[in-house]
């Protein structure tokens, strides 16, 4: 009973805030509604026993990416172009249908965990750490992804560097 209640709470939070984010007129309000969505998704992760993933979702998405989205929105003034509601409904329809199809196809696979199947979730940090750093596991992918991110960081810093005039150099 408890799982059902919490699932419906977090699901309503996620979907409700997502709809709010899609349909609200004010862009900044939409961005702030996204925070509700991200926290709701983190809650859903928690219900599936992925505690580390939930905390990472909050820390990275809500505490990092959302802030950057807000920076981008607040420091620029996007053109108030005509919102085409039809497209939004169309998108929701396609994605919803695709999700239902996906769940129906993979519903009986062993890796498809459902919340009610979890007896008592164990902490996952150790497992994730070991998997990411084992030579025969995901080590190569992890390091490769880190290098790609480093390249992205350096490139961003270089693109945003301060440019000097000729007079200042002399």
């Amino acid at each position: 009973m408890g799982e059902i209640l919490s699932f419906w709470f977090f699901a309503t939070l996620s979907v409700g805030c997502a709809l709010l984010s899609l349909f609200h007129k004010n862009v900044v309000h939409s961005a702030f509604a996204l925070m509700g969505t991200l926290v709701g998704v983190a809650g859903l992760f928690l219900l599936l026993g992925a505690d580390f993933l939930a905390m990472t979702q909050i820390l990275v998405y809500a505490g990092g990416i959302l802030i950057l989205i807000l920076f981008g929105l607040m420091l620029t003034r996007p053109e108030p172009e005509e919102r085409k509601l039809g497209r939004i409904w169309g998108g929701i329809g396609i994605l919803g249908a695709g999700t239902l199809l996906f769940v129906e196809r993979v519903g009986d696979k062993p890796w498809f965990v459902q919340a009610k199947d979890l007896a008592s979730p164990e902490p996952t940090v150790r497992e994730i750490g070991l998997e990411l750093l084992r030579r025969d596991s995901w080590l190569f992918a992890f390091e490769f992804a880190s290098i790609i991110l480093l390249a992205a960081l350096v490139a961003a810093a270089f693109i945003a560097r301060r440019r000097f005039n000729r007079e200042e150099i002399e």
Binding site: R161, R162, F164, E168, I169
Partner: protein, 207 residues
């Protein structure tokens, strides 16, 4: 390109990376030592209405008057550049019956010019600092400690009156006895009196 590698400030305060770390730690630690010392030392605050500051002997505060020395010469009132001092008394012979001696602190600037001309050195500026008042009339301070005549003054006035009356009576009695004397004695006495009264006048004019 070297510009890109320079630190923002160029006044020499930014040195090497390790030097910066060391100087940051050291300056913060020494600063915290100073503040800790201040934290445990006695504060210099004076809790004002309960504690008053201690001032010098020569501090020019609120006036005080030595009433028994004052001879009502009005020198201090005339010396005041703003006319703050106002005094009123009635002379009974040598005695003074004081009515009022006020200093108006709405105007007084504590310049001490009233203290110097006093022939009896009876007005002073003391060490009391405040002029706290809730009404303007409270700022006009009365410096007298008593008004009217004291008992001793009344006694002295009565004695003086008595002496005067006695002198008058003695003089009247003398005149009465002198009237009975022969008239020749009167003429040289009169002319002598006239000469005597004239001479002091001449002497005064010469002097």
């Amino acid at each position: 390109m070297n510009q890109l590698l320079q630190e923002p400030t160029q006044d020499g305060s930014q040195r090497t990376w390790f030097g910066n770390v060391y100087s940051a730690i050291r300056s913060t630690a020494s600063g915290m030592g100073v503040t800790l010392r201040h934290l445990f030392s006695k504060p210099v605050t004076l809790q004002y209405p309960e504690e008053r500051p201690i001032v010098d002997d020569r501090y020019r505060g609120v006036h005080y008057l030595e009433q028994d020395l004052c001879i009502y010469c009005d020198a201090c009132a005339k010396a005041c550049p703003i006319d703050c001092i106002d005094m009123e008394a009635v002379r009974h012979g040598k005695e003074l019956e004081w009515k009022t001696f006020t200093v108006d602190y709405q105007k007084c600037m504590h310049c001490e010019l009233c203290v110097y001309p006093c022939p009896k050195d009876c007005i002073h500026l003391g060490q009391e600092i405040t002029h706290l008042a809730e009404d303007r009339s409270d700022l006009v301070h009365e410096l007298l400690s008593y008004t009217g005549l004291t008992e001793e003054q009344k006694v002295r006035i009565a004695e003086a009156e008595a002496k005067k009356a006695a002198k008058k009576a003695a003089l009247a009695a003398k005149k009465a006895t002198e009237v009975k004397e022969p008239t020749e004695a009167e003429d040289p006495a009169e002319t002598q009196d006239a000469v005597e009264t004239e001479n002091p006048e001449e002497e005064q004019k010469d002097g």
